[in-house]
């Protein structure tokens, strides 16, 4: 007579269990954005790819999905995340100092297909806090300059005080033949740069719309306007890649929250090719 006994479920790390990571370095980017460099206390997560995110946990407060903004071929096991302090969790994360321990789950999601731009012009368009998830692409392009033709970075922010990575943008401008263009929606008269929406930078930007591959991140409405401007200039939807965002609770496709129609953003995204997602984006409140 067989007897069924229950073996205690092995205490292996489940998909919902964070790994401890220590804040190695912290840099303030502007009045409400910080970049944290995190190092594993013990076990590290799998190497993170461009476009992917981790769920960052502030002890006792909660978790949020944050994309990597690092130089992935150089960072090793260090995780680099640029975070805007807007809610309870992000404020707690941004309040962490060097030596403090946060929790990390991941990496989750899919990656930017950077090799789609091999032999072509590579265009990156960031809006607001959309620039950090794009930064790994720029680092990659700088490290593999010969793989690409022109590399163009277009960036729009709310005001000069809200811009991220200003010094880095200047350095990139020097290394990318001046093809780094920045604009803000509004400014005081001490700003000597461009004022106007980021889409205004597209008509004159130095890329061939017939062949260029574009990577766009920002608020959904900014991505829509930008896509329209790129398409008006002749870029086809199958050469525009975007990064989507929805409420996330688990990051592993088990909680249902990040659905957009048939797709699960944590599992099938957050990176999508525009032509594949376009029909869904056109349905309000989907």
């Amino acid at each position: 007579m067989a007897t069924v006994t229950s073996e205690p479920a092995l205490a292996v790390r489940g998909a919902m269990t964070p790994l401890p990571y220590r804040v190695a370095r912290k840099r303030r980017e502007n009045h409400d954005n910080w970049t944290l460099e995190l190092e594993p206390v013990d076990e590290a997560i799998e190497p993170i790819g461009p476009g992917q995110f981790t769920m960052l946990y502030a002890f006792g407060v909660g978790e949020v999905p944050i994309s990597t903004s690092g130089d992935l071929e150089h960072d090793g096991t260090t995780l680099v995340h640029t975070i805007r302090a807007v809610g309870a969790v992000t404020k707690a994360l941004c309040a962490a100092g060097a030596g403090d321990v946060l929790g990390v789950r991941g990496p989750f999601g899919n990656t930017w297909p950077v090799d789609a731009a091999h032999g072509r012009d590579l265009v990156v368009v960031g809006g607001g806090v959309g620039l950090p998830p794009l930064r790994p692409i720029v680092y990659h392009a700088l490290r593999h300059r010969k793989d690409f033709e022109r590399v163009v970075v277009l960036y729009g922010g709310r005001t000069p005080d809200d811009l991220l990575f200003r010094r880095e943008l200047d350095r990139w401008r020097g290394r990318l033949d001046g093809n780094v263009d920045v604009t803000v929606d509004a400014a005081g008269s001490d700003w000597t740069g461009k004022v106007g929406v980021v889409t205004k930078l597209i008509p004159q930007a130095a890329f061939d719309p017939e062949t260029a591959v574009c990577y766009v991140v920002g608020p959904e409405i900014m991505m829509r306007f930008t896509a329209r401007a790129l398409i008006d200039r002749g870029v086809t939807r199958d050469r525009i890649w975007i990064s989507m965002e929805r409420t996330m609770r688990c990051g592993v496709g088990l909680c249902g929250h990040c659905q957009l129609g048939p797709t699960l953003i944590c599992r099938d995204g957050p990176v999508y090719r525009l032509d594949e997602l376009a029909p869904l984006l056109e349905v309000p409140e989907l």
């Binding site: 067989a2 069924v4 229950s6 292996v12 269990t17 002890f59 407060v61 321990v101 409420t247 909680c255």
Partner: protein, 372 residues
Amino acid sequence: MASILQAGDLDSLFGALRDRGYRVVGPTVRDGAIVYAEIESAAALPGGWTDEQAPARYRLARRDDEAFFGYAVGPHSWKAELLPPSVRLWQARRENGGFAVEDEVTDTGPTAFLGVRPCELSAIAIQDRVFVGGEHQDADYAARRADAFLVAVDCGDPSELCFCTSVGGGPDAREGFDLALTELLEPEHRFLVRAGSPAGEDVLAGLPTTEATEDDHRAAAALTAVAAHEMEGRFDATDLHDLLLRNLESPSWDNVAERCLSCGNCTLVCPTCFCTHVTDTTSLDGATAERTRVWDTCFSLQYAEMHGGNTRPTTRARYRQWLTHKLATWQDQFDSIGCVGCGRCIAWCPVGIDIRDEVRAIRAEEETHAHA
């Protein structure tokens, strides 16, 4: 060949399961409904009870026989056992300048589910695909699932709301069970018992059964055939996936939104709905923290809340999300339809929204439009 277990010997099944270390969860009458709870013997079963169901209506009524399983389905489903409403995932403790995390170990123990309807077998299979069929598995679900012993019971009395045959199911248990029972009342009260796994065979071997005759088999087949026939034509699932995704802006959604209270009852009683969210809490002194997974509903206003807004602020959007997920996009995500045709969402909706009618309305609206 299957076996026959006399109704009077049903307690032997309880004994055999208990001897093997199982706690038995099965149907019982409580608070005017047939719910699932831990039960000790056949005496706790809803003998002689049936359910009368209609949109926004569920009542128990007495049968004129003593059938143990003479009802359709109640408000509970087996997801309460496999995906409990609240599960602590881990605890964490501050130490050494950081923190240490201790995963929770599932310790419910082996559990026998007695009285699993074929639609519920389908529902469990559907949730299996979600929780153990993907890239990331849910450790807690997997542990509970491995420890579960399923005793299915064929359906002889579908309710007015049942439509399992329209979504690929049927009143007879086909697979995914350890034991399957068909309750026969005439000429004597007995059960046809089939084993569906080695564990099931083991339990069956220890029961006081006799070999089933051809008459027994015929009676069992007739029972479920009649039940299937009763449910014929209750739901037109033709082209369901594409129909819904073609009509995301149908006026029918506005129509149902006027009636829907966004209460989430449907998601609570649905045997396949699985959305959860996690809560992170900390002790008052901040020394320990824990994460708990709790049931969530896509009908709640918070469900689609993001910084900077809400992607589904209207009832219309949330109802559409639920129904299109259940009947259409679930197929894209998990290779099967999400609905098993149990009718619970119809009975337990306070305003009696019937998803079959809603689909019919969308279809009709599309047709009207096409000819306009």
